[in-house]
């Protein structure tokens, strides 16, 4: 009897701990840690560089190689205190994490890419990623490129990377592609809600597995006949554009994607 009570209470406590650890506000780092923030000031050129063009990719790689030197000249990275994980790690992950920390302690010069990643994530945690995205955009592309090439970063680690969304360049490339495919029906009323939200499920190569109109019920409402025309035009655009220009990495974060088609801006001129 007593044994059952112990087992029961033990499991209850465990559950409470697990629940508490998974609460987001507890998983945040204490705010009194002042990490070093390196903000790169990027020279803005007249032309947009879209990472999917092979030429742009080469340019980015060149710039990245040049800047590698700069990164290694920086002060040795501050080793981050052991954080409370925001998820209970599975046994395999735990071992990998321990290994990583050990590596950093023993070989400070070897840090290069991984150190850079850590500093980027520090920035992410401290700042609103939407605001800083414009400043660190280029760095993010480099990180993504590095990740693709380095075998050290496993799929599991990739899953844990907490990006807020696509980078501006990635988003720009996708938008530019769909802009070209979307023939806006010109007979739409100006003073109505002209937003169509479509949820997509994508394959890693950008082809569409499933598309779903989120406000489907609106199609059958009286006086909303134009919505059907608009929604169909958006679906046609997606089909015409596929495979979509999705980033080459981070499939987990964009495998489900929502496209918000809004014709108002175009029709109002």
């Amino acid at each position: 009897m007593n044994r059952s009570i112990f087992v029961s209470s033990g499991l209850h406590i465990l559950m409470v701990i697990v629940t508490a650890m998974s609460l987001p506000f507890l998983s945040k780092k204490p705010l009194d840690l002042p990490p070093i923030i390196s903000v790169e000031l990027i020279q803005i050129t007249d032309q947009t560089s879209i990472p999917f063009a092979p030429k742009a990719k080469k340019i980015i790689e060149k710039i990245k190689e040049k800047e590698k030197k700069l990164v290694s000249e920086q002060a040795p990275p501050k080793i981050v205190k052991k954080q409370k994980p925001d998820a209970v790690p599975l046994p395999d992950e735990k071992i990998e994490k321990v290994k990583k920390i050990k590596d950093k302690k023993q070989n400070p010069e070897k840090v290069d890419n991984e150190v850079k990643q850590v500093s980027e994530f520090e920035k992410d945690n401290l700042f609103d990623p939407n605001n800083i995205a414009a400043l660190i955009d280029k760095s993010k592309i480099e990180v993504a490129e590095t990740k693709q090439k380095t075998d050290k970063v496993t799929q599991e680690q990739d899953k844990k990377i907490d990006f807020a969304g696509l980078t501006l360049s990635e988003e720009d490339a996708l938008k530019a592609q769909i802009f070209g495919c979307w023939s806006i029906p010109l007979g739409l009323p100006y003073n109505e809600n002209l937003l169509v939200r479509i949820k997509l499920q994508l394959k890693p190569d950008g082809t569409i597995i499933k598309s779903e109109i989120l406000d489907h019920a609106r199609m059958n409402k009286p006086g909303q006949g134009f919505y059907k025309v608009l929604a169909e035009s958006a679906l046609r655009a997606i089909k015409l554009c596929q495979p979509l220009r999705v980033p080459s990495s981070g499939y987990e974060k964009w495998k489900d994607l929502q496209l918000n088609f809004d014709a108002r801006e175009m029709l109002e001129g």
């Binding site: 988003e171 007979g187 809004d262």
Partner: protein
């Protein structure tokens, strides 16, 4: 033993619960806003309507046309092209035969030639009548969007083409079409000083032209009723302006009244029961309405300035007109009872002939500025003025029934030395890019667009 089994079960349940409670990393759904698209014409394939040999022979006897199926598809194709919103693809590139395409299109073939929509159909001769089936297909989605059939007398084959275009246009753009409509205008012949002016009517694509008057008397400014096929026009009888009401369907004509000092024919109210007009009494031009049933005339404005060119809003609550009460000819809007007069045009130049759009959102006008005439549109509060076209002399815009296209007339010199004179009808859509000459056999002016015939 039983107790152990129970404990194992409980332990198993706890473990299951624990696994379920393990936090799973979830990514927030990424949203991308698409706020731009292209306004280039939609590529559409209009397959010739299929027809069996028996029907082909019968129609050849009646209509003197070798293949009525192809003829109807050409009407559809021309209409779509004329609208500027569609790009009908070249038939030579079609891979699938019309009869098979109508049953089940091979979408890969149509996709290959970059068609996004496809029109197929079938024509048959049934009980001395023409029966046309048509289907509209979404090539990219691989599904049927619409299927309809019409039966009519064979001589109506062009109208069937127009009705099919209206249906396709409405399904793909979200607004009503304007193809099954007619245009009434003043056909002009002879030198400018001795001009013969006849009332004429034609389909919106310029076919089926008919003259309604002989040209003995001068006719001006015909205007269609928005609800039916009635027309008002102004004609000079013994050198006095007289307003007539003409029923296009029956040919019946009646005199509305003699209005000395009138220079423009009245316009109809949206319900077709009243007409609104301006004429001069005691040397001062003001705006009046007349009830067509009891012929009672009601004065709407009473101002020492010249008030002319009134036009009702489609809901009948407001009237736009032009007046020189500010010193220059400008556009004003007021309630239908003449109250709350408000000036809406403030640009440089003179504004005239305001016409309220059937959609209710815009007012079209003619503007004279620095010796040039412009056709433009503005919102009903006067904001968002856009000049669509500019020329040496042009005026009298009239809206298509869907409020997308304007038809007007333009006078031009016939040679490069600036000699000669020609008046022609032109159309332009709201984008300002799709300006087209509307072919007429003679010179033409004062066009007015009818409502949809099939309504």
């Amino acid at each position: 033993m039983q107790e152990k089994c129970w404990k194992d079960k409980m332990l198993f349940r706890y473990l299951l619960l624990l696994i379920l409670l393990l936090p799973i990393k979830a990514f927030a759904l990424i949203e991308v806003d698409i706020t731009r698209g292209n306004l280039s014409p939609l590529p559409i394939a209009v397959s010739p309507l299929s027809i069996d040999e028996e029907s082909k022979k019968n129609f050849k006897k009646i209509l003197k046309k070798n293949n009525i199926g192809s003829e109807i598809s050409i009407v559809v194709e021309n209409n779509l092209k004329q609208s500027g919103l569609f790009n009908p693809l070249n038939k030579d590139a079609f891979l699938q035969k019309p009869d098979i395409a109508n049953l089940k299109p091979r979408f890969e073939d149509w996709n290959l030639i970059k068609a996004q929509a496809l029109v197929t159909g079938k024509v048959t001769f049934v009980d001395e009548k023409l029966r046309v089936e048509f289907r509209l297909w979404d090539v990219l989605a691989g599904k049927e969007m619409m299927a309809l059939a019409f039966t009519t007398v064979p001589s109506n084959w062009r109208r069937v083409g127009h009705i099919i275009t209206d249906k396709v246009y409405e399904r793909l753009t979200g607004e009503k079409g304007y193809f099954d409509t007619r245009i009434i205008y003043v056909a002009e012949e002879g030198p400018k000083v001795r001009r013969i002016k006849k009332l004429a009517i034609m389909d919106q694509d310029g076919f089926n032209n008919k003259f309604l008057t002989l040209g003995n008397e001068l006719v001006l400014t015909p205007r269609f009723s928005p609800t039916n096929q009635m027309v008002t026009y102004l004609s000079y009888f013994k050198n006095l302006p007289r307003v007539y009401l003409l029923d296009i369907e029956t040919g019946m004509q009646e005199v509305v009244g003699d209005f000395p000092g009138m220079t423009f024919a009245p316009r109809f109210s949206p319900d077709g029961k009243k007409i609104i007009m301006s004429f001069a009494q005691d040397g001062n031009s003001d705006i009046y309405t007349m009830d067509l049933e009891n012929r009672i005339v009601e004065r709407i404005t009473n101002h020492p300035s010249i008030d002319t060119s009134p036009s009702f809003s489609p809901n009948g609550k407001y009237i736009c007109f032009n007046s020189d009460r500010s010193g220059y000819q400008q556009i004003y809007v007021m309630d239908s009872n003449g109250k709350n007069v408000k000036r809406i045009s403030f640009g440089n130049g003179l504004y005239g002939t305001p016409v309220w759009s059937p959609r209710g959102d815009l007012i079209a006008f003619t503007k004279l500025h620095r010796g040039k005439f412009y056709i433009g549109v503005m919102r009903t509060d006067g904001t968002g003025e856009r000049l669509l076209t500019e020329n040496f002399y042009q005026e009298a815009p009239s809206w298509s029934p869907n409020g997308r296209v304007l038809i007007f007339y333009r006078e031009t010199k016939t040679n490069s030395k600036g000699e000669g004179f020609s008046a022609k009808l032109w159309s332009i859509d709201l984008t300002g890019y799709n300006e087209k000459l509307v072919e007429t056999k003679t010179d033409a002016s004062d066009p007015s667009w009818s409502s949809l015939l099939s309504n």
